[in-house]
């Protein structure tokens, strides 16, 4: 509250101050003119400045016209955010000026942000990549991260889930962890997301997923709360030189998002609307009704071993009693859960003001109701921002308030996983309609569970800066964020064994953030430029959450108040995620350049955190960067075709403390009682490790940037080597230590690779056509460098889960970090004679006491003992992609625009569990599951068939042989794909025309998202897989989107 009060007081003061401001004009000559933008449209709101120091004279009106009185030899400067500044000499009596402003697309004149300071890109030594806000418009999305897919070389974004309000995975420069959570199909890598910095405030995008996927509370990603319409620019920092100034949290890269600010002398109102349809992907084909019955019967007749097996049919009524209406249905259950959904978004943007004082407000509504029934996400946001800066630019103050509400329903699933939907969708088509005693419970649970999750976030931010003397500027920024998270789930009686259940979660997180900086820039002898930046950051983060759970509420109408019966109260109270964390950091960066030709950057940052343990509070992050702008060398200066060229080199270290008080000192519980004395003793889950080292990321980067032929060709190339050492490794201990596990260091990974971005503008800049073609790609290879000594270079993460996925992961030093540990499938035994026979015993190759025969999978007997056991597992595949990248085409003709974006991922192993599961449906013809047509599957059907897939209809031997067992390389497929992410077609109406309608501008567009994926993968979607490369058929499918949208400016 205090922050808010202070903010409003200051804003009032600022407004009052601005009232007193009167632009003084001299009366020598009058100059008039017309300013147009790159589309030759009149450009309103451009500030016209003159003098030394610069003073604003006026701004262009809506028609792009201006009129000023200036001395005869004055230089006029035209300035507006997002465009190149242009200056024009008024001399020689020119009184009518026609000015065209070009958008900031020359990379070098862009401004980049380093250590919260704006710097010229020309002087930046680190590796980074910038996108403008326009790149993330026109395709409605809850999560802007999705729109960055395939745009940034070296950033691997995978849209692993279509669940609205959730996010997929993002990695910058490969693998940074070997920690995994979950088991079976639900194994996930610990997320290592980049740090998001939104308008100077760091935000941890992983916080919703901190506890894996079993965490309580709404899993709404904080990224889903940012409206895409409000984004002005995005910058991605990749190497350690660029990120080290952001400290420990930035070890996995930094994504800097800058929101729009006001810039129009008269208030502007812009409205954006999207109407979009999300359609589910093609569902599994199933055989309905009589076809199902016939297939099951044929299967039994064909594979029965005795007459008893045939008799079993008569005790299975839905097979034998085809005339009974009760068993005579044909229901495709999937249709009950998936739907095509129509959604809308509205966004209203109001801004006004000039360089002196400007403001903006962004009000938005976005709704995505999900292609699975009973799921959905809705966002409401209101972002306000005000900025005051007198034209001498000595003093600046900025205030911003952000309010965001995300509301979500996940049905009875957990968002990413919809296990209920998946298993119910597999129900036999013959079963009767949903009722209490059939598909009932779980079916009703999917549709009737009333789940309401909400995240409400309020953030106030105040920033001020002051220039004491020329070049020395101090600034400070304070923000406070409060986030309230609730989840209310009501499970009606019908879905929960006749008794309703109420669950309620209530949590909050807070963050107080303060940054103070002092920077100094100076030029000596006109050649030597120096910039020094010192800043510190303080952060206090808090969290507290609680749950209530009550079973057997009296009826479905009574969802509260709670507290009717203590006996059925199923726990609750405070959860153990209470947090009170403090962080204090100090950073010093110095940059020197000689004639902007040679640049040296040095930076050093100390990160202190209360979580580090008291002996070793600070982590140290040093970095060095060098840059050579070779185009500025005298011997190259004459080259017309070279716009710019630079070589960059950098080295830096990011240190991530992984030691918590608990890991270092152990945890003590109040437990045990002896001789009337309460005992307090160690918690024996993890042994205290006083010698725990922080995780260290060291990165070397070399880069080359150049632009040729007046920006027709632009190239950015980077190569890097990144070493992750002291990775926290959860090591399980022998029971003679008394403890279960230790968090030790030992593990290390190296990533190295290349990144390339190439952009062509083949057409003449003056032509009506404007074509930009860009392509980017990255190659990243990861290698496991070390493991704790204990393991002698190999660690197998056994995964014997209840669902028998048994898809183990092996870490072997020297190889790709995350490989699978599976049986190697070499095809299918065509005939019985193909099965190897043990020359000693004369028995055929066997498993579980059952000899293999024709039609069974030919699984390599790695240890040649003619017996298939766990000793035959072998290391195979790599779940992480080697290549990632994307391409885009942008074509403009007059008012028409066409934009296509694609992305690709190459060379990764995906385990096609979806297909395994589909074939596995045939395992039991007496079961109550659906059957599917397998005509398209290359399956063994009769002796002599050379097939890819084993025979699945032999239900009698199915349990022993498990022909479609998940733990074989039969499912390992290449997950290479190229996806058309989006296509946008737009038309901008002529301004003169829309003026007649009372509008300032009008643009309409149609767009499509996730249009087509080109892949040889035989599963549903090579991207809709877990970070460990398992195709989850319980997952939330990624929908296809068709959208019609419009922008209106008033």
């Amino acid at each position: 509250m205090n922050n808010m009060k202070a903010l409003f007081t200051l804003l009032t003061a600022v407004v009052l101050l601005s009232q007193g401001h009167v632009a003084r004009a001299q009366t020598n000559i009058t100059v008039t003119g017309h300013v147009i933008d790159e589309n030759r449209q009149p450009f309103g709101g451009v500030t016209v400045l003159t003098g030394r120091p610069l003073r604003a004279l006026t701004s262009t009106d809506d028609n792009g016209n201006f009129r000023v009185s200036v001395p005869a030899n004055a230089v006029l400067v035209f300035r507006i955010v997002g465009y190149n500044e242009r200056s024009q000499n008024v001399g020689s009596g020119r009184t009518v000026l026609n000015i065209q402003l070009a958008p900031l697309d020359n990379q070098l004149e862009e401004v980049v942000i380093r250590g919260y300071q704006k710097r010229s890109k020309e002087l930046s030594t680190g590796s980074s990549f910038g996108l403008s806000g326009d790149d993330v418009q026109d395709v409605p999305t809850a999560n802007i991260e999705q729109l960055l897919q395939g745009r940034v070389p070296g950033m691997n974004t995978q849209i692993t889930t279509g669940a609205p309000g959730f996010r997929g995975s993002t990695q910058i420069r490969g693998l940074s962890t070997v920690s995994m959570t979950g088991s079976g199909n639900q194994s996930f890598l610990q997320p290592t997301s980049p740090l998001y910095v939104i308008d100077g405030i760091p935000m941890d995008a992983d916080r919703a997923t901190e506890y894996g996927f079993q965490q309580q509370g709404p899993g709404i990603s904080p990224l889903s709360l940012i409206p895409q319409e409000d984004i002005a620019s995005i910058e991605i920092l990749k190497d350690a030189q660029a990120t080290s100034l952001y400290g420990s949290m930035a070890a996995y890269g930094v994504i800097i998002i800058t929101t729009k600010r006001g810039n129009s002398p008269i208030p502007r109102v812009r409205y954006t609307h999207n109407s979009f349809i999300r359609t589910p992907p093609k569902l599994r084909e199933t055989l309905g009704g009589n076809l199902e019955r016939q297939l099951k019967l044929q299967q039994i007749y064909g594979n029965a071993m005795s007459v008893n097996d045939i008799w079993d049919i008569s005790s299975t009524p839905f097979l034998s009693d085809s005339l009974n209406a009760y068993w005579n249905n044909s229901t495709n259950w999937q249709d009950y859960y998936y739907r095509t959904q129509y959604n809308q978004s509205h966004n209203l943007h109001i801004d006004g003001g000039d360089q002196l004082f400007n403001y903006k407000a962004n009000l938005g509504y976005f709704s995505d109701q999900g292609i699975i029934r009973n799921t959905g996400f809705t966002r409401y946001n209101a972002n306000l921002r005000m900025e005051y800066q007198p034209e001498d630019r000595r003093f600046q103050i900025i205030g911003a308030v952000t309010g965001q509400l995300g509301q979500q329903s996940v049905g009875d699933g957990i968002g990413m996983l919809q296990t209920g939907v998946a298993s119910n969708g597999l129900s036999s088509t013959l079963l009767p309609p949903p009722s209490f005693y059939q598909a009932g419970g779980s079916h009703s649970s999917v549709l009737a569970t009333d789940n309401d999750n909400a995240t409400r976030l309020i953030r106030a931010n105040l920033e001020g800066s002051y220039e004491f003397i020329q070049g020395l500027r101090a600034s400070t920024s304070v923000s406070y964020e409060y986030e309230s998270k609730t989840e209310d789930t009501f499970t009606p009686a019908v879905a929960n064994n006749q008794f309703a259940e109420v669950y309620s979660y209530n949590g909050r997180t807070t963050q107080l953030y303060n940054r103070n900086s002092l920077n100094y820039s100076a030029t000596f002898n006109d050649n030597h430029n120096l910039f020094i930046n010192f800043f510190n950051e303080f952060r206090i983060a808090g969290r507290q959450s609680a749950v209530t759970r009550n079973e057997r509420s009296p009826n479905d109408q009574l969802q509260g108040p709670l507290g009717y019966d203590g006996y059925f109260s199923r726990g609750g109270g405070l959860l153990d995620d209470y947090t009170d964390e403090r962080a204090a950091s100090f950073a010093l960066a110095a940059s020197y350049d000689f004639n902007k030709r040679y640049v040296v950057d040095l930076s050093y940052r100390l990160d202190g955190s209360s979580a580090n343990g008291f002996e070793n509070l600070y982590a140290r992050n040093p970095a060095i960067g060098l840059r050579w702008n070779f185009d500025k060398e005298p011997f190259l200066e004459g080259l017309e075709w070279l716009d710019y060229g630079a070589i960059r080199l950098s080295w830096g270290v990011n240190i991530i403390p992984t030691g918590t008080l608990e890991r270092i000192y152990g945890r003590f519980d109040i437990t045990g009682n002896y001789n009337g004395q309460q005992g307090i003793g160690l918690d024996f889950d993890q042994i205290p490790n006083p010698g725990l080292q922080p995780k260290t990321n060291t990165q070397y980067n070399a880069g080359l940037d150049f632009s040729l032929f007046n920006s027709r060709v632009e190239v950015i190339y980077d190569t890097y080597f990144k070493k992750v050492e002291n990775e926290l490794f959860e090591q399980f201990l022998p029971n003679t230590t008394g403890f279960n596990k230790i968090f030790s260091n030992g593990a290390g990974i190296a990533n190295y690779g290349h990144e390339l971005f190439v952009m062509f503008r083949p057409l003449n800049l003056d032509s009506d056509f404007n074509l930009t073609f860009s392509v980017n790609g990255a190659y990243n290879k990861d290698v496991l460098l070390s493991l704790p000594d204990h393991y002698s270079g190999q660690f197998i993460r056994w995964d014997f889960d209840v669902n028998q996925y048994n898809q183990h992961v092996i870490l072997r030093v020297g190889g790709a970090t995350l490989a699978n540990y599976l049986y190697v499938n070499e095809g299918v035994f065509a005939t019985d004679a193909d099965v190897p026979v043990d020359p000693v015993t004369g028995l055929r190759y066997q498993t579980n006491g059952q000899a293999f025969q024709a039609g069974d999978p030919m699984i390599q007997d790695a240890n040649n003992d003619y017996y298939l056991t766990t000793e035959d597992y072998q290391r195979t595949g790599n779940s992480q992609p080697l290549f990632t990248g994307g391409a885009s085409i942008m074509l403009n003709y007059k008012n028409f625009g066409f934009n296509l974006n694609g992305s690709f991922t190459g060379k990764r192993t995906i385990l096609n569990n979806a297909l395994a599961q589909r074939l596995g449906l045939m395992g039991n013809p007496f079961g109550n599951r659906v059957v599917v047509p397998l005509n398209d599957v290359d399956m063994w059907r009769q002796p002599g068939d050379q097939a890819t897939y084993p025979y699945v209809y032999d239900y009698k031997r199915y349990g022993a042989i498990r022909p479609v067992r998940f733990d074989q390389t039969l499912w390992a497929e290449d997950g290479t794909y190229f996806k058309i992410n989006s296509i946008v077609l737009s038309y901008m109406f002529e301004r003169d025309l829309v003026r007649q309608w009372g509008l300032d501008n009008l643009r309409v567009y149609i767009s499509g998202e996730n249009l087509h994926t080109f892949s040889r993968f035989t599963g549903p979607n090579p991207e809709n897989v877990t970070t460990m490369g398992r195709d989850v058929s319980e997952g939330y499918p990624v929908p296809r989107t068709y959208n019609v949208g419009l922008n209106i400016g008033f």
Partner: protein
């Protein structure tokens, strides 16, 4: 403008001040190691936790009876006892058929004897002791030097006691004394383990008082008497297995015993109802070390765990309707050998009912004192879990002296016990007869206290049918058939551990 300047000046001032305080956050929701061990109270709480963890291991089944009394084959289930088929586990124990004892799917599943094969909890006691000792050595605020050395001695006692206990159960064990031990180690020969324990514990003997000023700690917490008793036991065990150096071990036991008897404040209570009830309740002058239990502290004893549970019937054990007879009995031939007819011995009369009945009428009244239950309450008598008793130490003293052929002294000690039992003093010759008599005297005096089987093993009498109804042959003895099977979980993450050879079928 002024506001901004003021903000800048203020923030710079804040920045300049120390951050150490800002970053030091005491976690309010959990107790981590950095804010524990800060006072005497913390140490006391930690020690209490250590004792209670050990107690958990002897509370997890009918442990004392199973490990120390039944394995030589004298105990049988009483036909007609409640859960008769489950009680028959004592006969499998008596046949040394340990694989059946611990296997699941048997009628005695709920005895959970499989837990006895798992040594993890013992190592948790050892880690706790090791960490506590290292913290004490680092220094704990507000702790006097006396207290410090006392707590170190107490923790060292618990560590050595745990190793001693494990050695008797598993033979060779993994041994370490460093705090936060996380490496995998191989099992170390038990003689060497006990020698290390002896060396570890000896220097701390005098750091503990004979008796605490607070009577509530008497016997319940380690005293000098506890350390002496443990040192004596460890020496006696090694004397049995490290036969070349047995003179040395016996000599140490003799010296320790003499010190205990001459300087110690311990005494034998008269064998009266009052006297014996006091001993069995605990915190008595006769107790050298015990796990004190009391219903007044709401101590949760498992219904199965007291030794007496299997040999008591109503009115010593409640409720009446299903405790008309004892679950088990000792066979009459053994009892007759123990307390021969015609020889005066108050223990035979005072401690037993229907001693020779060979049925559920057999009652070990020795454990039937301190009965506080009535009506249909399902409770055992409120006795302590006696580990080392003064009488036990006196008899060890006698045994060591007899082995050293100091017969006169040996007989003097032996007769201390016989006199208390108002039994005929020993007047026989020295030599083997005396040694055997002392062995039988230990069986008589320490009946049901978990010593007999280990006495049989360490003296090799387990191979002699005179002393054991189901003897081991020498091959079995050498392959350590007397150990418990070691749970295979010990091999997880530790390829160096080898399971007990005799029980290799245990997977």
């Amino acid at each position: 403008m002024r506001t901004v300047k003021w903000i800048i000046i203020l923030t710079l001032a804040v920045t300049a001040s120390s951050c150490k305080e800002f970053l030091t956050v005491q976690p309010v929701d959990r107790l981590t190691g950095n804010n524990f061990y800060l006072s005497k109270g913390d140490v006391e709480a930690n020690v209490a936790n250590m004792y209670s963890m050990f107690f958990e291991k002897i509370n997890e089944s009918w442990v004392i009876g199973a490990i120390g009394e039944t394995r030589s084959g004298e105990v049988f289930a009483s036909p007609g006892a409640n859960s008769y088929s489950a009680r028959r586990v004592v006969e499998f124990l008596g046949n040394n058929d340990m694989l059946s004892v611990i296997s699941s799917g048997t009628p005695w599943d709920w005895y959970n004897y499989i837990n006895v094969t798992d040594w993890k909890r013992y190592y948790q006691v050892i880690q706790t002791a090791n960490i506590l000792i290292s913290k004490l050595e680092e220094g704990i605020p507000g702790l006097s030097e006396t207290d410090k050395s006392r707590y170190i001695a107490e923790a060292t006692f618990m560590r050595c006691f745990t190793y001693f206990w494990m050695v008797r159960l598993y033979g060779d064990v993994v041994y370490y004394t460093d705090p936060y031990h996380a490496e995998e180690l191989a099992r170390e020969p038990m003689v060497s383990v006990l020698n290390k324990c002896l060396e570890d514990l000896r220097p701390h003997k005098d750091a503990l008082p004979w008796q605490f000023p607070d009577p509530a700690l008497k016997g319940a917490r380690a005293s000098r008497g506890s350390i002496i008793a443990l040192l004596m036991h460890m020496n006696m065990w090694n004397a049995g297995f490290d036969r070349n150096r047995r003179e040395q071990y016996y000599a140490e036991v003799a010296a320790l015993g003499t010190e205990l008897i001459q300087q110690g404040p311990y005494r034998l209570y008269p064998l009266t109802e009052d006297g014996w009830a006091t001993v069995m309740k605990g915190r008595s002058d006769e107790s050298l070390f015990e796990f004190y239990r009391s219903i007044n502290y709401q101590d949760a004893n498992a219904a199965l765990s007291p030794f007496g549970d299997h040999f008591l019937r109503w009115p010593y054990k409640f409720p009446r309707f299903n405790n008309q007879i004892s679950h088990c009995y000792f066979i009459d031939t053994y009892m007759a050998k123990l307390y021969p007819a015609g020889l005066a011995d108050k223990r035979a009369d005072f401690w037993f009912d229907d001693m020779l009945s060979n049925s559920g009428q057999f009652t070990a009244v020795k454990f039937g004192f301190n009965v506080y239950a009535s009506g249909n309450e399902d409770r055992n008598p409120d006795n302590t879990f006696m580990i080392f008793r003064y009488a036990d130490a006196i008899l060890l003293h006698a045994e060591a002296l007899a082995e050293l052929s100091r017969d006169t002294e040996a007989i003097a000690s032996l007769n201390l016990i016989r006199n208390r039992a108002e039994a005929t003093p020993y007047t026989g010759t020295g030599g083997q007869e005396l040694r055997d008599f002392i062995f039988w005297e230990r069986c008589r005096e320490l009946f049901g206290e978990g010593h007999r089987y280990f006495d049989l093993v360490r003296t090799q009498r387990i191979m002699n049918p005179t002393f054991a109804r189901n003897p081991l042959n020498s091959d079995q003895y050498n392959r350590r058939a007397w150990t418990w099977p070691l749970n295979p979980s010990a091999r997880i993450n530790n390829p160096k551990v080898v399971l007990n050879e005799y029980w290799l079928n245990f997977r």
